[in-house]
């Protein structure tokens, strides 16, 4: 037995030895392969940990954009099918706790038994999944719920809906920003995904590592949600009031408002209507009422079968014809060469210029397109005119006026609107509804005596017909930020710049006087003032107060082309403002240079027609006029923080340059004060009760000129004696029959400032009349005064009657300003002069049209403002009239359109 025992022991020993060798053999022959195999199997273990996109806060740390964690439900069929008993409880829980359609999940699992990753549901919130997750974690009670896990993600949220949506922009699903801050600061807001993974180190062993995600940085905006809310409310109200007015659609084609700190360039509010909800940017409902664009992003017009493409000459011809039909005086006013003009235009319509006009529309560079078209239509016109024996007329019409007009129309809108970033691209086609059919419509109302381009507006029905590309273009149009992405002719709000450059370059001193006779002949053109009956003798301050085109032309002539263009450059026109938002338009091709600016261009530029700007450019430059000449780079973001709240970058206001001297600035302030407070000031209606402000109205005719469409604006600052904020409101083509009235903009300014100034803690300085007190009470605003004085102000006022109101307020403010700081020295002295030289006011005698309340000029049938003499509609006048009229009809208020559009880049041939 003992021997056997030893035998057994050694047998066992041998077996052990054999197994040891076997182990060694495995390691030796396959160790490397198996090591790799193990690591390969590990691959699926590598998990991405998403970063959280940075917040966007307003200046009071209110959240404008945030990212919340959401969960995707992932099905792991492989795990689910490991045991039959898992299926039923898992599916029940999915159905009951997550509300997922389990039939689909089940059939997927059964048909893809090896699948380990299938998204069943996306973007559930923590609350939504918590019931299921509890069960998943409670293995004791729910041991058979398998094969389901949650993948974490972040979803961008904009808690305030539409608030500041054009400023923030939005994000696409892959967390990249589109538009606004989201795009401009995309790299700042983006973080880095973390990862949990295994990797092979130098010894071929597996290291497991978790690299935490680095969350994006927080962007602190200069936007004040309180101010922004007020602004957006007022724009919305405006839209409510005017939508579907003259035609179905929004209250205006575009509404824009910027409020900026005068002394820093920080933007307090920036809004443009229509608003969109960045949480749901592709909601088509908000698109309804917008000007529709086609698949190339161009604005569309009218019904297809009702329109045709024409050159501008044709439009003018049509207009001329219509005018002739309605006004006996046409021939007289059209002047000597009406026949030549007509034949020229007809010829153009029939001939090449139709196509060349279209070519110009799509041409890349306005200038090149213009030059060509000018050539061809000029040739066509020349041929026609030669036959008619009016060579001169043809020359002028073709080369100078009408062709330029027509092409610049298409060219300008295209050039100005095509954003490098592709946010919004459009061009206005020279597509015109036939005058006959418009007029039938229009003449019933009696308001429009000219050809009219009927724009097309988005409706629920038209959305349903859009193809993908068209729909996208309309989205772009919706998402674009009018305040920075679109260009337009500023109109009279440019006048303070003309005056400022005149004073600053020494061409004028500010105490000059000019005589306005209602028009000025510049070269071959008659350029009219808004008041065709003449403003009489005005000094510089009064010129601004009444927005007199003639005086401004004189001031521009005094400084000359060199100085004028130099100062345009100084003010930043034609240059990007470099605001920190995505997609700012380029305007360098949309202004004249000293080389290509002709005298007529200088004349029209002096009152803001003929060159294009963006809102942000205007208000930035305007701040420098007000604050002593410091041009700050506009900014919407002034601080960047880490996700933990540590500040990593503080953006200081960036002073770009000194535009004008302090004394010039002081003079401008005094003039602009008069615009609001002067007796004949055009900006009276912009003044909020209890405050003194300064500013300037603008009424710019859009292209094509004869369309009776206007861009109304007001640009101002408050308080007048110590400017803190600047405001700029633009109403692009309000939805009314008679658009030519800056009150559309000034009313918004007044309502906005009435709430914004108290919100910002700026005290009232002006006495309140009874009427104003009532007005404030109606609005629920309690007056605030620095010394605690409340509602009741000097007793003198209480006696005033409502009728006298305006005039009294005027005087009062004059009186008050005496105690005010600087405005009194600068501004007031000039005022009385006007009264003395007040010219005859013929319009005061005109009969009043009962329907509209405007006076009607018996000679022209034009509608005239009975107080100011401004022709608002009708009549055959043009602001800019060729001596050999190529076109006529029309009218216009403050701004006389020349055939101005895009300034040619190169000198015309």
């Amino acid at each position: 037995m003992k021997k056997k025992l030893l035998v057994l022991f050694f047998v066992v020993l041998a077996a052990f030895a054999g197994l040891g060798v076997r182990l060694f053999a495995i390691e030796k022959s396959n160790g490397e392969a198996y090591r790799r195999q193990v690591l390969e199997q590990q691959q699926y273990d590598s998990v991405t940990i998403p970063y959280r996109r940075g917040l966007i806060l307003d200046r009071n740390d209110m959240v404008l954009a945030t990212s919340e964690k959401v969960y995707n439900v992932i099905l792991d069929s492989n795990a689910l099918l490991r045991d039959e008993k898992y299926m039923e409880p898992t599916m029940n829980a999915l159905r009951n706790d997550l509300g997922i359609d389990t039939a689909a999940a089940k059939s997927y699992a059964e048909s893809h038994p090896d699948s380990r990753y299938r998204v069943l549901e996306k973007n559930l919130t923590y609350e939504q999944i918590s019931a299921f997750r509890d069960k998943l974690n409670d293995k004791a009670s729910y041991p058979d719920i398998r094969g389901i896990w949650f993948e974490e993600q972040y979803r961008r949220q904009y808690p305030n809906g539409t608030l500041a949506s054009s400023v923030t922009g939005f994000t696409t699903t892959d967390n990249s920003g589109t538009g606004g801050i989201e795009e401009y600061y995309n790299s700042v807001l983006s973080g880095t995904n973390g990862r949990e993974y295994g990797y092979q180190n130098a010894d071929s062993t597996l290291e497991r590592t978790t690299i935490a995600a680095k969350d994006g940085n927080t962007v602190c905006s200069t936007i004040d949600s309180g101010v922004q809310t007020i602004v957006e409310d007022k724009l919305r109200q405006f839209n409510e009031e005017y939508k579907d007015g003259a035609h179905p659609g929004n209250g205006a084609e575009n509404l824009g408002c910027i409020i900026m700190e005068v002394n820093t360039g920080k933007v307090l509010a920036m809004a443009d209507y229509p608003f969109f909800d960045p949480n749901d940017p592709r909601n088509t409902d908000v698109m309804i009422g917008m000007r529709e664009v086609d698949e190339k992003g161009k604005k569309t017009n009218g019904e297809t079968e009702m329109k045709r493409r024409v050159s501008v000459g044709d439009i003018a011809g049509g207009i001329g014809g219509v005018s002739a039909g309605t006004t006996e005086e046409t021939a007289v006013e059209s002047g000597e060469s009406a026949p030549a003009g007509d034949s020229g235009t007809e010829n153009g319509a029939a001939g090449n210029s139709v196509t060349s006009g279209a070519a110009g529309t799509t041409g890349k560079v306005g200038a090149a397109g213009v030059a060509e078209v000018v050539g061809s239509s000029g040739a066509a016109g020349a041929a026609a005119v030669a036959e008619a024996g009016a060579a001169e007329a043809a020359d002028a019409a073709g080369a100078d006026a009408s062709a330029g007009d027509g092409d610049s129309q298409s060219g300008s809108s295209e050039d100005s609107d095509v954003l490098p970033e592709g946010l919004a691209g459009r061009a206005e086609m020279a597509e015109v509804v036939l005058p006959s059919e418009i007029t039938s419509d229009v003449f019933e109302t009696g308001y429009i005596g000219t050809g009219f381009i009927a724009p097309k507006y988005v409706t629920a029905e038209s959305i349903s017909f859009m193809d993908t590309e068209t729909l996208n273009q309309n989205y772009y149009a919706l998402w674009k930020n009018f305040c920075i992405n679109e260009t337009y002719e500023p109109g009279s709000v440019a006048k303070p710049f003309t005056v400022a450059s005149g004073i600053d370059c020494g061409a004028i001193r500010g105490d000059e006087s000019y005589n306005c006779e209602g028009l000025l002949e510049v070269g071959d053109h008659k350029i009219y003032c808004h008041n065709r009956y003449g403003d009489g003798i005005l000094n510089v301050s009064q010129a601004l107060e009444r927005s007199c085109n003639v005086c401004l032309m004189q001031i521009a002539f005094a400084q000359g082309v060199e100085n004028f263009t130099k100062y345009q450059d100084v003010f930043g026109f034609g240059l990007k403002s470099n605001v920190d938002l995505a997609g700012e338009s380029r305007t360098e091709s949309l202004i004249y240079t000293a080389k290509n600016m002709r005298r007529t261009d200088l004349a029209t530029n002096s009152f803001g027609q003929g060159f294009n700007v963006t809102m942000i450019q205007m208000i930035s430059a305007f701040c420098s006029l007000i604050n002593g000449g410091n041009l700050y780079q506009p900014m919407v973001v002034d601080r960047i923080e880490t996700s933990d709240g540590a500040t990593i970058e503080n953006m200081q206001p960036r002073l770009v340059k000194q535009t004008i001297s302090k004394t010039t600035s002081a003079k401008i302030r005094s003039y602009l004060y008069q615009v609001v407070f002067g007796e004949n000031g055009t900006g009276k209606t912009a003044r909020p009760c209890g405050y003194a402000i300064g500013g300037k109205t603008g009424t710019a005719e859009t292209l094509p000129r004869k369309n009776n469409e206007y861009v109304l604006s007001f640009m101002g600052y408050a308080p007048a004696d110590d400017p803190q904020i600047a405001i700029y409101v633009v109403v692009d083509r309000p939805n009314v029959y008679i658009q030519d009235d800056a009150k559309f903009a000034t009313r918004i300014v007044k309502e906005v400032l009435q709430e914004v100034l108290p919100y910002l803690g700026i005290y009232m300085t002006e006495p309140l009349s009874e009427k104003e007190k009532q007005e404030l009470a109606d609005k629920g605003i309690s007056p605030i005064f620095e010394d605690g004085r409340n509602v009741d102000m000097p007793e003198a006022e209480t006696e005033e009657t409502a009728a006298e109101e305006e005039q009294k307020a005027q005087e009062k403010s004059d009186g008050d300003s005496g105690k005010g700081k600087e405005k009194k020295q600068d501004a007031k002295p000039e005022a009385p002069v006007v009264e003395d030289i007040e010219p005859k006011e013929p319009w005061k005698e005109f009969p009043i049209d009962p329907e509209t309340g405007y006076a009607i000029d018996p000679k022209t049938n034009a509608l005239v403002d009975p107080n100011t003499g401004v022709t608002v509609m009708g009549g055959e006048f043009l602001h800019v009239e060729d001596i050999e009229p190529q076109e006529q009809g029309g009218e216009g208020e403050g701004e006389a359109p020349e055939e101005i559009g895009v300034p040619p880049q190169e000198a015309d041939g």
Partner: protein, 382 residues
Amino acid sequence: MPEREDGSTSKAFMDYTLVVTVLFLTAFGLIMIYSTSSYEASVQFGDAGYYLRKQVLAAVVGIVVMLLVAWTPYHFWEKLAFPIYAFSYLLIFMIIPFGYEANGAKRWFRVAGISIQPAEIMKIGVILFTAGFIVRLGAKNIESARGFFSVLALGLVPAILIRGITDNMSSAVIVLGITVLMLFVASRDYKRFLAMGAVLAGVVGVVILVVKNMPENSGAWRLERIRAWLDPNAYASGKGFQTLQALYAIGSGGVLGKGLGESVQKLGFIPEAQNDMIFSIICEELGLLGAIAVMTMFMVMIWRFMAIAYSSPDMYGGLLVVGVMAHVAIQVILNIAVVTNTMPNTGISLPFISYGGSALVCMLFEIGLVLSVGRGIQIQDL
């Protein structure tokens, strides 16, 4: 060699080498169980120590049992041998109505939350009863054909029952193996055993040939197991999965291993790694050196068994120790052979180390028997 205690010639002998080896392996087993099971336990039960806690309890109970048995004179069991052996049969039959099914097989009773495998009890019963039976039969009689086969039947019958009723091939093999080895040591004969070995080898060879030449997708699942053994890569997602993953673990561990607790394969690739496949995780974490060290510990243990059996005061004691030695040796060898894919996969746990409470308690009971036999050795006998 047993330790000599201060001169007293009649002092009882306690084999401390064996005790230390057993305690070491048991403690090492607990560590490895925690290492291998903590991930799955925390995923499944939210409690990383779920398996460890149960095993620690079994280890404590087992050590107490071991000490009690060690101090009990082993002849006490001679009288109880038949009742225990008979009771083991009863338990196996009771599986049919009362058995508890887990992992697709009906092998356990659940008593007060503890699962007990009758096959483990049977192993003890076979050792106790066969030793007494051989002694009573006498050395000469077991070499007769009748004696030889009647001893063989003591293991063969329960083996067939275990295989038939509980579908547990590995326990059947162990029970039969214990009997055969005890008989081998007790008899002086070689021929019969060599013949048996030859027959076994022949059967294995034929089976391999047959299986290899059989068309795919035919035959019972047990045959597939054999196919998977012959070519685990071809069955990587089925029967060969566990084996292949164990091989990956062994191969990727290298000479020094990835370090204790660093196994990757236990993270869901080797299912229930704390059970039969625990040796592969030892290889992965502690490398070839660790694996060889564990095998050496088992070798030391078997050497101690041999030494005690060699010096046992009587044949009964010697045969008891041989039975235990056979049990441990067979189970260790088969377990490592399975893990290294040296033989087809069948569920055999690694003594002292694999998770399993009743198995550990039974094993420590058997060690108690060996220690008890060792205590009977007088120092001067050595």
